[in-house]
């Protein structure tokens, strides 16, 4: 049996709210921080990142992440996504 080679890519899919979509969680976090006495916070936004270890080439990883985002991870009505290989 040929040895199995594990190619590993680290990919990050970053899901952000589109411009103009209010971020209630960010707003809540801002409020909580201010109640704790923090000053000078102009805005807080929350971003969700899926960090993946993939057993494939960089090229395949990009394509897979693209498809994952379209099929599951982002809703285009409110979210945009960005893929980054590390």
């Amino acid at each position: 049996m040929p040895p199995t080679v594990l190619i590993m890519v680290n990919a990050e899919i970053r899901i952000e709210l589109k411009k103009g979509v209010a971020d209630p969680e960010g707003a809540n976090t801002k409020k909580a921080l201010e109640l704790l006495g923090f000053k000078g916070i102009l805005g807080v936004k929350t971003v969700k990142v899926f960090s993946m270890e993939l057993d494939m080439s960089a090229e395949e990883a990009l394509a897979a992440c693209e498809e994952m985002s379209r099929k599951l991870l982002a809703n285009p009505v409110i979210q945009s996504y960005k893929i980054e290989l590390k």
Binding site: A32, L35, L36, G37
Partner: protein, 624 residues
């Protein structure tokens, strides 16, 4: 991987292709015995170590690391109630047994001719003080497993919570801000309870500065079952196999019980990482269904939940409860990650696991059910006649303990005395203040009095569609707090269960005996107020360090109050929980004897609520 053995010179690696050590306790001096206990995280006292030594001397062999770890789990305060058992026996175990069907992981009570309900409450204080979100969530997970282990469908959750003052902005090192804890605990209960679809219907929020370093998170669960489906947490006998189901086993939650059985201190954060977990409700939800389906089809002999002590406690207990022992293949356990030492597998407290005992011939049918629900399930051992647990790992015997020795942990009658140095302050009668409106306003805005609506509404208190009297009652535009909640557990029937909480730490702090009594009194009045008849109680007793005589005294007195009151009212207390060591470097907590009560409502259509209904209705005061 951290190898606890490396720096222990009395540990001798056995010549096998995995991690296994024989611990030479025979040649150990007292100092070395203490060192073994502390280096291995056993939390056993010198005398306990000597008892262990005596046992192995009689067997003429050294213990393995697996055995000694397992004994430490079984003998922890959390698992064997070594400081509280004498008092429980005296006050609680002899309470009335009217309508009690079983006292197991949860107490089971008669509901009607065909059905029963069960109840249990537990603390998850230390994990929540360290990691509030995960600690509270896994608390809910654990109490749900207790109810499930009786063969019951969980139908309601309750969550009495105790925190430091919410406005505090600075706290000592190693302690978390009350606000952070509150947000985390409520979030954990919300996300876990809502995700498994069990309504959180009652609870409480109590604020006092004594809880700043050590918040109390009590979680309770009510279950419902057909009487002919009642399971006891036990094997039926030889011919049964043991099937481990649910989440996989990992390094998480190792030494959780030892952590629960010691005081928190500044470094607890770092030392306790292993004991903290997040919980996976989406593994739990199908596990509930699969266990209930297997039970419904009559395939099971018994179920037991894996909580404190993990496999190490559950295997011995479920076997011994049926008068038997067990042989287990530890390498059959399904793991999250590779490289776990056998002792780690044996004591891991990974969440979302249950142990099933079933006749061997039912194995395939059971595994099929779990496959359908995508829940892992593996046979790990079988029941044997002799009351002994034997473990194999890769064909090597790594453990062989008599259950009589393992499960009959030590029992203490520790010194217990009322604190002397605290002078009894004469109670001062309050002056009637002049400016009543400002007093009223400050009273209403006190966190202990103000509406808990922001918490209650984050919990789905109506899922399952059976919450007929809700935690917030009255006119929908101006709802007020309920005294008790009512559930209609059986579609098509009008018989209901009223659920309420009672506790007052300020009372209990001043007078533990009366504090214990008043908790029951409050619970019963709450139940009566919706039209229920008090029927069963369960308690969660949160106290300080029992090795301090004055703390143990508080515990004993409160317990006596509870026992006396239950007997006087002829109410059963078929389950309960003790949580000691609720202390921080700057003081012990106010004692909190929490009572969860359940009442029977004959006809839910006759329930009443606290709100005034119509102008001109008369108002009566009853009692004295």
């Amino acid at each position: 991987m951290r190898d606890l053995m490396l720096d222990l010179k009395l540990a001798k690696k056995r010549d096998v292709p995995f991690s296994l050590y024989d611990i030479d306790i025979f040649s150990a001096s007292d100092e070395e015995l203490k060192e073994i206990s502390s280096k291995l995280g056993l939390n056993l006292s010198l005398q306990e170590m000597k008892d262990v030594r005596a046992y192995f001397q009689s067997k003429q062999r050294m213990p393995t690391d697996v055995e000694i770890q397992s004994i430490a789990q079984a003998w922890s305060e959390h698992c064997c109630y070594k400081s509280s058992k004498v008092f429980l026996r005296e006050n609680i175990f002899n309470t009335p047994t009217t309508d009690v069907l079983s006292k197991g992981d949860a107490g089971v009570m008669n509901f009607d001719d065909d059905y029963a309900y069960c109840l249990r409450i537990e603390s998850h204080n230390h994990p929540s003080a360290i990691e509030p979100y995960g600690g509270a969530a896994t608390g809910i997970g654990g109490i749900v497993r207790d109810v499930l282990a009786m063969g019951a469908q969980p139908i309601a959750l309750v969550d009495p919570l105790f925190f430091g003052e919410p406005d505090l902005k600075e706290v000592p090192a190693g302690t978390k801000l009350p606000k952070y804890l509150i947000k985390g605990v409520v979030g954990g209960i919300r996300d876990y309870g809502n995700r498994i679809g069990i309504p959180t219907v009652a609870g409480g929020m109590f604020f006092d500065k004594s809880y700043t370093g050590n918040c109390l998170v009590n979680v309770g669960c009510i279950g419902f079952l057909r009487k002919d489906k009642l399971l006891n947490n036990s094997v039926k006998g030889v011919g049964d196999v043991l099937i481990l189901v649910g989440g996989k086993t990992g390094r998480d939650g190792i030494h959780g019980v030892n952590f629960a059985s010691a005081e928190l201190h500044e470094r607890s954060e770092d030392e306790s990482r292993g004991a903290v977990q997040l919980g996976d409700p989406i593994m739990k939800e199908p596990t509930i269904h699969a266990c209930l389906e297997a039970n419904d089809k009559g395939l099971l002999s018994g179920i037991k939940d894996l909580g404190g002590g993990g496999l190490s406690c559950v295997v011995g207990e479920i076997a011994l409860a049926g008068g038997c022992g067990a042989v287990v293949q530890v390498d059959a356990v399904h793991l999250k990650e590779e490289g776990l030492a056998p002792w780690e597998i044996w004591v891991s407290e990974s969440q979302e696991r249950m142990m099933l005992a079933a006749p061997k011939e039912n194995t395939e049918a059971i595994l099929d059910i779990f496959k359908m629900w995508d829940v892992p399930a593996v046979v790990i051992g079988e029941v044997v006649d002799e009351q002994k647990v034997t473990l194999y790992y890769k064909n090597e015997i790594i453990y062989e303990l008599d259950l009589d020795f393992l499960t009959k942990g030590p029992e203490y009658c520790r010194p217990c005395a009322e604190a002397e140095d605290i002078p009894k302050t004469a109670v001062k009668k309050p002056q009637i203040p002049g400016d009543l409106s400002s007093v009223l306003l400050s009273l209403l805005s006190d966190p202990n009095v103000a509406s808990k609506d922001w918490v209650i509404r984050q919990y789905d208190h109506e899922v399952r569609g059976n919450t007929v009297i809700k935690p917030l009652q009255g006119d929908v535009s101006h709802p007020g707090p309920a005294d008790a909640t009512v559930i209609r557990p059986l579609p098509g029937s009008c018989r209901g269960l009223a659920i309420a909480i009672g506790v007052n730490p300020w009372f209990a702090g001043l007078d533990p005996l009366k504090g214990g009594k008043s908790a029951i009194d409050e619970t019963c009045r709450n139940i009566t107020a919706v039209g229920g008849k008090p029927h069963a109680l369960t308690d969660c007793l949160n106290f300080g360090n029992p090795e301090k005589p004055e703390k143990l005294y508080e515990f004993r007195e409160a317990l006596k109050g509870i026992g006396d009151m239950a007997k006087a009212l002829n109410l059963a207390v078929p389950s309960g929980n003790v949580s000691f060591y609720n202390e921080t470097t700057y003081g012990s907590v106010l004692p909190a004897p929490t009572i969860l009560g359940v009442g029977i409502v004959e006809d839910i259509r006759k329930c009443v609520t606290t709100d005034f209904k119509d102008e001109g209705n008369p108002v009566y005061l009853v009692g004295k």
